[in-house]
């Protein structure tokens, strides 16, 4: 690809992005329901936490979290989740492989990873926009306990880290879906991976309320960088050198995820027999 080819390259994927937006707009009502229904279990969890704090007495902290920072943590999980979660992407990729639809991508001057990434980004843009309505209303009712970001470092670091988290999330989902080159039904693998992700990324609770050794082990995996780490930046629980170091490690995981995705595609294509294609 010459230097002159760069612009059409980008434009091509911008076009995919635009198509992705049109396609996902169809599902806007589903997205709205999903986002709204998701707030019910969240409300339940928050009630339980409030009860724990009330019974432990005023001004108490759990693992270094006062009530307001605990509530804020969960609210931010919802925000990060809306912005980064993969919705249908992994199922669609697996179906493309199973049904032989990827054959056409092998013939076109289109990179499948970049194509899927464009679709993922368009899907997230629409989902976040739609989910913003119920989530913002919810945040408004909870505003008494919603902490502001820890200064400019908090908000900028959070934003930057969420983008990296989104990329990492995508590469993990993409690699999992590519297992479809080797197995007929990838859904069980995706769900098993997701179960680990759910607990190790800090979706269920902040990781630093776990026993220290367990938390330390989880920090060696990429999972905390999907959710727990960006939120810790927002809340000002990682600052200075730790913040810089964390962002570097997160970037490292994104690069590793990209490498894994490329490598799996490379191996998968050699294995691919174009069933039905």
């Amino acid at each position: 690809m010459g230097r002159a080819g760069c612009r059409p390259q980008v434009r091509k994927y911008l076009h995919v992005f635009a198509i992705g937006i049109q396609n996902t707009l169809v599902y806007r009502v589903n997205f709205l329901f999903r986002a709204a229904f998701g707030l019910i279990p969240l409300t339940g969890t928050l009630f339980v936490w409030r009860t724990i704090y009330r019974e432990k007495g005023e001004g108490v902290s759990v693992g270094g979290y006062a009530l307001a920072s605990m509530v804020s943590y969960y609210l931010l999980v919802t925000v990060v989740d809306a912005m980064t979660a993969v919705a249908e992407d992994d199922w669609q990729i697996a179906a493309d492989i199973r049904d032989g639809n990827i054959s056409q991508f092998l013939l076109k001057p289109l990179d499948y990873l970049a194509y899927r990434l464009s679709l993922y980004l368009s899907g997230r843009l629409i989902y976040t926009t739609v989910a913003m309505v119920p989530v913002a209303l919810f945040l408004l009712t909870m505003r008494a306990d919603l902490l502001p970001p820890a200064g400019w470092t908090g908000i900028l670091g959070f934003a930057f880290s969420v983008v990296l988290a989104g990329l990492l999330q995508f590469f993990i989902a993409y690699s999992m879906a590519l297992l479809a080159f080797w197995v007929l039904d990838v859904s069980t693998f995706i769900f098993i991976q997701f179960a680990f992700e759910y607990i190790a990324s800090g979706h269920l609770f902040p990781l630093d309320i776990l026993p220290p050794t367990l938390a330390a082990v989880l920090r060696l995996t990429p999972y905390p960088y999907l959710c727990y780490f960006p939120i810790s930046i927002y809340l000002g629980r990682v600052t200075g050198v730790d913040l810089m170091q964390g962002l570097l490690i997160q970037t490292g995981w994104v690069i590793a995820g990209y490498g894994l995705a490329r490598w799996m595609w490379h191996r998968g294509i050699r294995h691919y027999s174009a069933a039905g294609g």
């Binding site: 999903r34 229904f37 409300t43 724990i52 019974e55 069980t188 269920l204």
Partner: protein
Amino acid sequence: MRPPSPRSNSPARLLSLYAAMWRNSVTREMSFKANFLLWIVVELLWFALQLAFMSVLYSHTDSIAGWSKWEVVLLVGCSNFLQQLFTAFFLTNLTDVSEHIRTGRLDFMLLLPVNTRFLVSLRKVDLGAYINAACAVGVMVYALHRLQLHPTWLQYAGFSVLCLSGLLLHYSLTFLLCAIAFWSVRAQGFIYGYYNLFNIARLPDSAFPRGAFKAFFTFGLPMLVVSNVPTKVLANRLESPWELALALGVAAVWFALSEAFWRFSLRHYTSASS
């Protein structure tokens, strides 16, 4: 000898039909053995995840709204037990309903000489869910042991009846939602949303402050009743007999409503092909 009348819906006949559906399901599942086992693992992982969440909470406190750790484990076990039974009998069948309507396959089912609601609700059996339900029972037994509780036969009987009514409740509500498919293509989304509500069914009801949220999920969609009340019966935590009446009553009301709505929907059904 007289052949059974074509519209006979006698319990014996329905039971023999269900046995046939069981055999079909076993054959179907056994053609993908590895997948069958992996799905059991997936469900067990999610169950373990819920238990892990509770044990993390209890590593920071001894009691939540009067519930001790092992009482909550009993509750989570009970909630998962109901959820797995619901999956074993109904879940895939009910999510399929919108497909039957969309593709017109429902016409064919309406013509079969058997109660259509029975057929639609119980066609496929999810065998893995029985194994997961058994695991949930295992967890409940262990929790009872840790609580040093020895429930009487009466308590076990009450627990069983309440579990049946809880199952009926989950089924009726989901069935109502899937009958929406007669009007809208989004019914599956509603069922997905309902499945979300299982998440609050495993939380202790007393942790919720009085208010609209609690009232709605106690008297309207009684998620805070469905597994809490059976657990309380086993754990000697029942505060008043009215809780029993509420659990049974609300399930009966929702079942009646779902039947009425189903009949109403069928009357308004114009096949996909016509």
